[in-house]
Amino acid sequence: MSGLSLTYRGDAGMTVDMSALLPERLAGLTADAIARMTLPCGGGSARLGDLFDLSAGDAAEGLLIRPGGAILHRVGAGMTMGRILVAGDAGNHAGAGMTGGLLRIEGTAGDSLGGVLPGLPLGMRGGLISVGGDAGDRAGERMRRGIVVVDGRAGAYAAAFMVAGTLAIGGGCGPHPGFGMRRGTLLIGRPQEAAPDGFADGGTRDWLFLHLLRRALEGTGSWFERAGTTRAHRFIGDLAEGGRGEILAVV
């Protein structure tokens, strides 16, 4: 990935709010200007240049983040375009409220991946998030559009209150998947023994639109791109919210 790269060099365990570091905001800025930016971190704030080593490059070409031992929250939150690659783990709210672009997290993601930022009505509204490891709770919460694909497991309340969009979890979900879901698709890479609470059993069949999803994921290397089937068990719900959403469990 050419472009700007940031390598964390501070103390391990430091939390940093990365929401200001978006490709569209950094495009065209010099390395010095970026290094002078102030980021909330550890209950205070610090200049970006004091936390990260910067390589020369234009963020418009892509932004590579090496988290090291830091806990980077809100990576790509509100992102509208461009590419961010996290070569490691991301903290909470990665890609929250995102409306476009590509966010790739090679490690794990924290809570509210592609979810909703506090005080806002909707989660992710466009773009693509790809996670190589696990995700925390409330992945895809109040998601409105876009694709989130997680190769590992997701925590509780995946796709909770989802409005639309696609959340694809390869390793299965924690409790209460699709809680309050209105529309949208939660695709799970594991068979479901029983219909989740609030969902009705819609039967098993091959789903043509999953071919389109697979095409959309080409190049991500994600679990569903590699999956050899589009056959899935459908659960319709959340019936308490009109029953127009779906959980598809690959069989």
Binding site: R205, L208, H211, E246
Partner: protein, 303 residues
């Protein structure tokens, strides 16, 4: 311009007169090539001429699973109309009645970019009676409509472009059998080319028309100058005594380059056997250059 002969076949010094049309391209897929054929045969049926059918349509080419959005066998279909509004009306009706009804089918946009778009699934989604589902992958939006064999997947809309309709040439031959053989060879040569369709049955027209009629209600009638049976009574006949049959190929295409390439390939194939195969001359249909802005001069096309 000097006389032009190819394999002894006279190429008349005239031109084909063609018209601007609006077109779109659809990609239809199904479980098997046979069901692709079933869907596209219905989709492109009764679509030979805008005069009587409202639109002109045909399969542009068959697609391999690697070329289609859902990795199944498919076909690219081009549909031409006289205006964007007219085309929109016919496309949504045909997709709704001919593709959605066909088992296992799906319909996608084959023309993705353009200043104007017309609805596909966006116009058909209400058939889902509230159970339709929209999915947006990347920049493309699709509809999933529940139907009795599962789901009909259909792209939300398709772009339209400015194309050309009415490119043509006529084959004059010594017998009907030889005329048909030459026309079949021309069709076979044209069909693999991109960006053009032959909307008439088998790609060939036997009832070429002229503008107007002795009957006031008709805007077009049989082209008496090319009817061998009227040669003796038609003072403006264009047929010599040795011509027994005439067949026409009409080409609709994305642009002049596509039409020109199709005419060149088709004429070359039609005259390949020369006069020994009974082909006597190649000519083209026009209206004196007063109606259509696109003129394809046969001598230039074959130069």
């Amino acid at each position: 311009m000097a006389d032009l002969q190819i394999n002894g076949v006279r190429i008349e010094d005239t031109f084909a007169e063609a018209f601007p049309m609006t077109y779109t391209r659809l990609v239809v897929t199904a479980d098997t090539p046979a069901w692709v054929d079933a869907a596209t045969s219905s989709l492109t049926g009764f679509a030979t001429s805008v005069i009587g059918c409202g639109c002109e349509a045909a399969v542009e080419r068959l697609l391999t699973p690697e070329e289609t959005p859902d990795s199944r066998p498919g076909a690219a279909v081009m549909i031409f109309g006289m205006s964007t509004g007219d085309l929109a009306k016919h496309v949504v009706n045909r997709v709704g009645q001919c593709v959605m009804t066909s088992p296992g089918s799906a319909c996608y946009a084959g023309l993705l970019n353009g200043a104007k778009r017309i609805p596909l699934g966006g116009g058909l989604r209400y058939f889902g009676d509230g159970h339709q589902i929209a999915k947006k992958f990347g920049d493309r939006r699709f509809w999933r409509l529940p139907v009795m064999d599962g789901e009909f997947v259909c792209e939300d809309s398709v772009a339209v472009g400015k194309g050309i309709g009415g490119g043509n040439f006529l084959i004059l031959a010594a017998s009907h059998r030889q005329c048909l053989a030459a026309a079949e060879a021309a069709v076979a040569a044209i069909r693999p080319l991109p960006g053009i369709i032959l909307p008439f049955p088998g790609g060939v027209v036997r009832s070429g028309s002229k503008v107007g009629s002795k009957y006031k209600a008709l805007i077009a009638s049989t082209n008496t100058r090319f009817c061998p049976t009227l040669r003796a009574v038609e003072p403006e006949t264009l047929l010599s005594p040795d011509v027994e049959a005439v067949l026409e190929l009409v080409l609709d295409g994305t642009d002049e380059t596509a039409i020109r390439a199709g005419m060149r390939a088709g004429i070359a194939a039609a005259v390949a056997g020369g006069t020994a195969a009974g082909v006597l001359a190649i000519t083209a249909g026009n209206y004196g250059g007063k109606l259509g802005p696109h003129h394809f001069h046969l001598h230039e096309v074959m130069a």
